[in-house]
């Protein structure tokens, strides 16, 4: 019960910080417009190729990946408690560090879900990509699943950069590049060599994106469910690694003194 309260207060900290960056109008006119423009840019490659299949592939992939882009802000956000000087106090409180960190960064998960759904709907309307009914109802839960999966992955990277905050932007951008390149966003996973495909299958976006493509393509429910289950398995794996290593990362900071550093 106490962990839930810690999570909710952490979420409030994250929300108050988020609203310090964005208002509703700047989020819509600044963030969302830029993100939709980015996704539209990639989708138009399909239109320039005069290939409806490529257009469809790029619209879905880029409409979804912008959510991952938003969620991946969890990586640098994991270091913000160090910047605030609250990290050592959280570490030595009687509570676990985990609900506090998940709470503070969860706003980026919510931002990712909202960003991805808004982008996907906008692109589908602009490029006239139809979605079979009623399986279209699965899109929102699948987008949520994908964003949650990326969030679990980003938590792990976040706990790593908490040890070395100066690397947060490198790790953040490298992770995003890997997700965009290898997980079937603009190029099918099958395009890559076998060992890259193995890595791609362990990354958080791959299976969820395949499930969403299945929904758009009217694939059998079993195929969609299978990909969704794999996405859950991958998410659970990343979450387990994050949870198991978060306190260890803090203890390593206690040993070398870096727990107190801002950068």
């Amino acid at each position: 019960m106490s962990d839930i309260r810690v999570f909710l207060y952490g979420l409030r900290v994250g929300w108050m910080q988020f609203t310090g960056f964005w208002t509703w109008s700047t989020w819509t006119g600044g963030w969302l417009l830029r993100i939709v423009a980015q996704a539209t840019f990639f989708a138009m490659i399909g239109q320039l190729l005069d290939s409806p299949e490529s257009l469809r592939y790029l619209v879905i992939g880029n409409g979804v990946v912008v959510g991952a882009l938003a969620v991946n802000w969890t990586v640098p956000a994991s270091t913000w408690d160090r910047g605030d000087g609250t990290y050592p106090l959280l570490v030595v409180s009687p509570s676990s560090l985990i609900p506090a960190v998940i709470g503070r960064t969860a706003i980026w998960l919510l931002n990712g879900i909202a960003t991805s759904l808004a982008s996907l709907v906008t692109l589908a309307v602009v490029f006239r990509i139809a979605v079979p009914w009623p399986s279209a109802l699965l899109i929102a839960p699948l987008v949520t699943l994908i964003c949650a999966s990326v969030f679990c992955f980003a938590l792990r990277l976040g706990s790593l950069v908490t040890r070395m905050p100066s690397a947060r932007n490198v790790v953040h951008n490298s992770a995003l590049t890997a997700l965009m390149a290898f997980c079937g966003v603009s190029v099918p996973v099958a395009f890559w060599p076998g060992w890259v495909q193995v890595i791609a299958n362990c990354l958080p976006l791959t299976h969820g994106l395949a499930a969403i493509r299945g929904v758009f393509d009217g694939a059998p429910l079993a195929m969609i469910a299978s990909n969704a289950v794999w996405s859950i398995v991958v998410s659970a794996g990343w979450l387990a690694i994050s949870v198991l290593t978060m306190d260890r990362m803090a203890d390593a900071g206690r040993a070398d003194g870096s727990i107190e550093f801002v950068r």
């Binding site: 309260r5 409030r12 910080q17 000087g85 609250t86 050592p88 106090l89 009687p94 509570s95 003194g257």
Partner: protein, 311 residues
């Protein structure tokens, strides 16, 4: 019962560069009895904050032993943490976008304060540090002294038997600092043990049952308030302006005077051995028609020179 015990405690920061490692604590041994207010006095970089951070489990020691309330701070950190309240001063360590009250509610949740008790446990320290009226304003609107008081309120949330206060009055105005002293005395009367680091010798003299002087990561002396007060008074000095040569000569002949030196072109400083010496110097200066004068408290540096000289 011993509330705090450290034996040969060392903390070394590795620099990972050509520069030598930094030895923050160099075999520090200290024992604090339960229910005491123990002061830690020392210049910047002496190792006071590092000691507090090891005892509060923020940092691990490089070697040696430290225990709080009978629990080893390395092996039994989960036993130590719920039993201590921590106040690290400064602008950091607070959520600026939250209100003062929200900050304390968050910390109450982190210290497992039951939800039904949270309001009382938050309101009480807010009132005690005089922040009730500003409790629902964001911390980013607080002055430095108000943030310091909020740090203090947060330290009280755990209702802990042991309090670590690291420079708690930094940035406070004189009224708030006076109220803080009353609060410490009240906490002591409740039987709590308090470890207080400070630069302020008057604060240490007024509040502490014992004062440990730390320099270069070691305790160089431990004094009671009485001996500490005598030490301070013995280092008092008189500064005056407009001295004539015959006045300076007369001062040097006084037995209580240990040194007469020029602070600037116009100002001289007379150092004396004891309070009686101050009286004699003042009388002589008035007889010599010197009217621009004042007594000066010893600086921390003076005190350390005295302590190290006597070792």
């Amino acid at each position: 019962m011993t509330a705090i015990e450290t034996v040969d405690l060392r903390r070394v920061y590795e620099t990972h560069s050509r520069e030598p490692n930094v030895v923050a604590l160099n075999g520090l041994s200290l024992s604090v009895e339960d229910g005491m207010v123990q002061g830690l006095l020392g210049p910047n970089g002496a190792g006071k904050a590092t000691l507090v951070k090891i005892l509060s489990t923020v940092l691990l020691p490089t070697s040696g032993h430290a225990s709080v309330l009978g629990y080893d701070v390395v092996r039994q950190k989960h036993e130590v943490r719920p039993r201590i309240g921590i106040v690290f001063g400064g602008d950091r360590g607070l959520y600026w976008r939250l209100t003062g009250r929200e900050n304390l509610e968050y910390w109450a949740a982190l210290y497992h304060v039951p939800q039904a008790e949270t309001k009382r446990r938050v309101d009480s320290p807010l009132e005690r540090v005089g922040l009730t009226e500003r409790a629902d304003y964001r911390v980013e609107t607080y002055s430095r002294g108000m943030k310091q008081r909020l740090h203090l309120a947060r330290g009280l949330i755990a209702d802990a038997r042991m309090l670590f206060l690291d420079e708690p009055t930094t940035g406070m105005n004189p009224v708030a600092a006076h109220e803080f002293r009353d609060l410490i005395l009240e906490l002591r009367s409740q039987g709590r043990t308090i470890l207080l680091t400070t630069h302020d010798m008057a604060e240490a003299e007024a509040l502490c049952d014992a004062v440990a002087f730390i320099d270069r990561g070691q305790v160089i002396a431990t004094e009671t308030p009485r001996s500490f007060g005598a030490l301070l008074r013995g280092l008092e000095a008189v500064e005056f302006e407009g001295a004539r040569p015959e006045t300076l000569e007369a001062l040097q002949l006084l037995p209580a005077v240990s040194a007469v030196s020029a602070v600037s072109d116009q100002t001289h400083r007379v150092e004396v051995h004891d309070t009686a010496g101050v009286e004699a110097v003042l009388r002589l200066l008035v007889d010599h028609r010197v009217t621009s004068l004042r007594t000066a408290r010893p600086t921390l540096e003076d005190l350390y020179l005295q302590l190290l000289g006597g070792r």
